[in-house]
Symmetry: D3
């Protein structure tokens, strides 16, 4: 089971301007073959189907699977921030409030969704479970996951070079740093099984000196840390400790629990999208519901 | 963000016998168009893309999305229990340990996965994000979700009639009861927006008197309860309270937090599947890792 | 069986200008998940697989399935009108008659088809039968269809706001009105099974006073009418009668037969597309065929 | 536009026995790459996108497109007949009414649909619009269609050899004969453009003397006839007349209108499938609806 | 088995300018439904699954399948040439080296691949094996292949009209000519089985006088030649000889072996794409590998 | 470009019996996500899109890509051998020659193909180009390819345990050995870039002492050899030499050219499949073609 915390893993600053093109590029990080929906589902399946006694490796998978759920939320919310303001309600008789959609790379942002994120990649292809890899073999799964994180990081570094929109850059940079941490988690797991990586990794080889947003996050050692994302005990720290497997001088930190988060943005109504689509009468009904006295029957039981 | 709890929402009793056919049928509940991966993703997207001020409805979506993550785990683990023992390592020179695969409805359970669950439906089709519906419109989303839960329940009732394997029945019955609770959540949400359902719902119309596993769960009022699946405050109870919207005499209960769970089963090594695939040398390495003293650097920080 | 009538359900005025972007947007109404190919196929399957004695509901499905076939034709022809003139045969030695294709959102309109419509959505995804829903359960099918029509109407209202091209607007407006009628058909069917909708529907809540094309069609009560689309008797009128289920004061009308239609446009040859591609010799052959005396053997038999 | 006639193109005799395997094989004729959904959609698109003045060829496409709509109905209903009786409501406490599903090649017939047909092929793959071919080029379209009909006929001949279930055979045989007629239509159209086929066609080369069901239909010249499937005039007979293009001595007949049909079977309620799923209360409501006096407001208008 | 030759079938001149739009259009020729990956795979499967004694037709399929492998290489390399230079490494602090990606029709060229070709069509849809046709029936396979080549040529003629980029035109023109040769191969094969084509073919009907690149290739009779693409004997020449089946005066030539080729272009490192991504240290390692003395153990054995 | 050699890489012994289930299992090796079509296409794309100066690695990719083309042929032909004899022409009036299809796991072997292989996996899913991975990054591509070969080998080892049919085992064993060689090629390539594998690889850890077919092939050192598959020079031997990267004592051999092959089986006509489908008249025509004197115009030119 899982429990939800009403926070994002990283703060999303306001977007410089409505930016449907950046929003569409960022979809790769959400619904792409190497995006967050995929890492989340792949690690979840490897965790659920885990066999044998090396349970510390199962704990490791569970921790990262849980973290990726929050990444899905982070990317989705960033896309929404980039789309916000791209259209607005009509103020003049002959306005075309959604004409922006015809010049946007993903018309579905405006036509199928209510000006918000979709479970597709940057070319519009829907996410598919054929992406999910679980062979049941521990070495092979770790090898695949290492490659997956490295590819994810490669793509985020390319995304970084495509736009300098602040909201976009904040999230892309956060993922560059976290993907590096995950690359280290899986590389370290393989190191415990005998592999030495020498200087072959990480991918990509990156000079972060020209990437201020990335540098700032690395200055907090975020690229060497891994939370357990649980209140319970975890074998993660048995594997993820000591020196970075890439010989970059990093000191690995396994940390119990969940990192400090940031608020989830609120999207306003978009009448031109009929979202939420409540008219006066319906709005009044929802307000009555929300301002009613807390019902007596609720909240009595609680898991101990 | 999310946090993981090392429990399943319901206990899975041992399977009567290895049962690849029941396992394959149950895949519909995992990777089917109306299965748990879909409900989880649909409610997650509707929650992330939520617009407007009716935040109690957003809280409601978040609670159920989080519950569905645990349902994904429950179904996956049940499939694994049904597959366990279907093959075993060779003991004689000319054994064919995996010959069962040629007579199983989903050979991928044995050939692609290591005798375990897959993100596909009961006909073998991979899960697709084209299933995820989010129009941005509150009434429409609630209407779709109601239909989705009713269809899910319909399919689980059909699954119930296909096999009486104990492990299978326990999970199918649990989902029949929880889908009914979710049907009520969305029907109630629409009731707050003015709809009266009278006797049209629920779907399916079901006499549970011949379904002892279902009756037992209903005797605990599980079909009228909804947890918030968070330690934080939630508007769920503003909506989900009072009488059942189906006129069946049920009293709705919104409950803070997470229900009591059951242990997650452990799958043993399956050498004939090369899963986990660790030989003596590698096994020794993983044991060293796991029995090492807890590393000093870890666990220092913790979210407050 | 079905019989064809050489008319479209509504007139398509000439397009203001060749408009590949509007054409691509309108593809959602043809091959989209909530477009006309889908409604047609969904109702056709629900009709063919119908079980039980409530045959009036089966008749209702058959009527709308048949109407949707004409909607497929209407949308396809409108897309073709919007594409017409977007390219033209070369007149100068170094012309690039199809260079427009490189700047169009769906290059396949020019490269795969002969400057004409395709069975895909506005993002270029091919239509898939995974969209078709038929649970066999009457209440559930009606609930799904209601949601389907409301979503279709929502998308058409968004399309309306994207462009004011006359040909485009005429068809989009017609579909907004007909989708509302169909929303009422399914809402009414559920009303006969006990549901009261109060003010929750329709979706979207729409003030048509700023939409002159829509208002004109509503002035003919087109949003409260449903034809049977057959010369035979039908139970449709047993269900679809009385007051609108949305409390908007509409009086529902079930009408025998088929509405008055409008001519189907003729597309000229497009030599730059090699469509029809007949050269002088072949053209002469087809003319001979078409001007030959009506062959004696034909037309003798006819169904009585 | 289209109009519906409440008949199937050919009679379906009762199935010898419930036969889910034959039902699944026959799905290829419904949702397969060369099945009836595909021919219907391909000819419809070629008709809607038709360019140029050779309108007799457009009429030809429209006629066959319309006929294929009825074939879709015929195959769907035959699948339903083959499935009927495969399961039945529980009569004993521990019955498993749907256990048959676990031994059927397409569990979705029982789990997703209510024991009825699905828009998929015989291997369970959903129908896809990527199958639809329309190049805009007349010669090429005719060539493709000829190949399509020949492939359809080839597959139906293979289906004939798989089972001798009477309901199955009746429909398969009808399609073998009609596919041959369609092969002739497109071969003839190419003949008018200059091609001579000599003895290369038809495909497959078939001795029907051992196929009594086929012979009976051929004795009525059904393999040389083509109806216009419209009450209006059509250029079909300009092309489809004279001798068979395959040198088999056939005399081609174009016929105005629609052939005599056969009744559409009625499927009873299947309570074990929750289809139609009406309980006593809901059944009473639908009966009230159906036995109400014909409402006065209906049926007043009618297309002249 | 196959053997590789380090040459392309035709020379690719330098691209006039970086041209992502032309690159994307040309993807249809690589990963499109009628592109080179498809012809290659279709003929390969028809060859592998060939039945019966008409082995000359099997040889014919093998020859063209092998040629198509080289076409895949030609189109991929041309796309790469068109993309080359579209981005370049950052030289200023605030450069966005990959910003071009946001304005390109296929962002995946820059985001998923390292500024290079992808196995997708011009609309971004991935290639699918559902395209591959092999009925096992000789006449039908030949008929389909004829249609396939004619459609491929039609699409290339449309591509020709979209851009006059020199690199693009060189490859498109080469394919127009080779597709015509292949059209003749399959038309000739059907001629040996009795068909006369008269003036119905080829498709498209094309006046090449305005297409200098095409004319130049035809002046070398490239549209009437077919190589065997093997050093072994082949029955190809038994079928492909004599006059062109299209009555255009061409004299067919079957030629043993493989045509003279052209060099394969070298793509430089693209650091902004992290491709090849070798840093100084890794580059040194690869140079050591490549300049090492040829290892003694190699090259000893060789197939005779 | 490529040249074809009329041989398979390994001999296929006769199948013990017609074996559609083994045939279907083996489809995973042809059209599966980790099968031969995928390795062939992945390495081909990585070769065509290669960037930078480390050309020895590009040569390595080209060699293995070319070898995989032969593996595609080997697996396809083995499937055909397993299917051969599964049905036979009717000899009695009421025979059902293809009834076997209804009990076979892939009915398409008999219904869509002419009793032969298909480009699908063992669950019937068509091969998709979404499988093809090319990041442009050398380290990452090598890492992925290593994982790909190890997964392929894992699946073949599972296939080995499913059936002991001789034809099946011969091909499965050959692929187990060649996949190991390829695993070594990519592991070695990463070793040149600094990685040490120690005992983590290969996957799976396998005791071949109980696998006589595998042992026999290994006794010829086939698991340590790699041919260049070209007559031209290649940098392969610069990388693939010295000791096995897995510390198993193997001595790596790069060999110029192509290995000795085995004959390609001939499939006879299958009249019940209408394959090849030639009747007496058409057969005579093909015989005339094949016995005609070698035409004079052919074979004059040849590549030097």
């Amino acid at each position: 089971m899982f429990s939800s915390i009403n926070q994002l893993p990283n703060r999303i600053p306001p977007s410089d301007k409505p930016d449907p093109k950046a929003a569409q590029a960022l979809q790769e990080g959400l619904g792409g073959q190497f995006g967050e929906m995929r890492t989340m589902m792949q690690y979840l399946f490897q965790n659920m189907n885990f066999r044998g006694e090396a349970k510390a490796y199962q704990d490791l998978l569970r921790s990262i699977a849980t973290e990726e759920m929050g990444h899905v939320e982070l990317v989705s919310n960033t896309i929404n921030m980039l789309l916000e303001g791209a259209s607005s309600p009509s103020t003049q008789p002959n306005d075309l409030p959604l004409s922006i959609a015809l010049d946007s790379p993903n018309i579905h942002h405006f036509l199928v969704a209510g000006q918000s994120s979709r479970p597709v990649d940057a070319a519009g292809n829907p996410w598919s479970a054929t992406y999910v890899y679980d062979s049941g073999n521990l070495v092979l799964n770790m090898l695949y996951n290492l490659m997956l994180e490295a590819t994810g990081r490669l793509q985020k570094c390319r995304l970084y070079e495509m736009s300098n929109n602040k909201a976009y850059r904040a999230t892309v940079s956060y993922l560059i740093v976290r993907d590096l941490a995950h690359e280290k988690v899986f590389a370290k797991a393989l190191e415990t099984l005998g592999v030495s990586w020498n200087k072959a990794l990480p991918v990509p080889k990156l000079d972060t000196s020209g990437m201020p947003e990335v540098k700032e996050l690395e200055s907090r050692n975020l690229h060497n840390q891994q939370w357990t994302f649980t209140d319970e005990s975890s074998g993660l720290s048995k594997i993820f400790n000591g020196s970075s497997p890439f010989g970059d001088g990093g000191e690995l930190e396994a940390i119990d629990g969940i990192p400090q988060g940031a608020p989830i943005p609120n999207l306003p109504d978009a009448p031109q999208e009929f979202a939420s689509g409540l008219d006066g009468e319906l709005k009044k009904l929802t307000q009555q519901v929300q301002t009613s006295a807390s019902p007596e029957t609720a909240s009595k039981k609680k898991r101990i």
